[in-house]
Symmetry: C2
Subunit: 132 residues, 2 copies
């Protein structure tokens, strides 16, 4: 792998991600960074998000809604997707790694891990109308 060279665009992306609790898509990151660097291109945003994901500095989330989301928090945790507003939220919960064992008990291959998304109504959408 080639050496990473400093760039203020990448730094801005890193900062933005580290300060938001949302789980933005590349498009969302692009619009946010444009307020600081109006000339940044979508391609640069994608290139840097992939770079940061490759080095493990951020995580890529395939929520199944058509576009990837990005998460600065790389600690082991789970996500919740609201079926009302589409928001992606972090879940504080105990480890459920035991499901790997359950999955492997009648399986001939090797279970290395799992990817789980919970869905339902977030606190906002729970009571009353959804707010997209």
């Amino acid at each position: 792998m080639a050496e990473l060279k400093y760039s203020r665009q990448r730094e801005a992306i890193r900062n933005y991600l580290s300060e938001t609790k949302e789980h933005p898509t590349a498009e969302t990151v692009y619009h946010a960074i444009r307020k600081i660097y109006p000339n940044i291109s979508l391609g640069t945003v994608y290139r840097n998000l992939n770079l940061l994901a490759d080095t493990g500095e951020i995580n890529k989330l395939s929520c199944g809604d058509g576009s990837e989301h990005f998460d600065y928090d790389t600690s082991r945790h789970y996500h919740f997707i609201c079926t009302g507003c589409g928001r992606v939220l972090d879940l504080k919960m105990a480890s459920i790694d035991s499901i790997n064992t359950i999955a492997g008990s009648h399986f001939d291959g090797t279970i290395e891990g799992h990817s789980t998304y919970f869905y339902g109504k977030c606190p906002c959408c729970k009571s009353g109308s959804s707010n997209l």
Copy 2:
């Protein structure tokens, strides 16, 4: 919802899906059906797959590999994605719905369900080289 009218294209897609144990993408279905109806179009394949998914006759799987996969088996079960060859396999395993309770215990919203994919090495890729 409008009435569904018979079409041999849709019937062929249904048959193909019911006879395969793979979890094909629209593209794969398209190539398979073309052997029977060489003039079928990709658009028709997509339209029918979505139609069948909407009526609940088949399931759509977002495996996170860039394209949707389709599954004729709509019974409650889990899937395994091989990190070696990319194959999607069915897993015979006990229910793990208890993870919904775990996820909800420190969450203010409502957990309605979850989507879980297990990954690792399938029986083929487990021993020796992967075979993509």
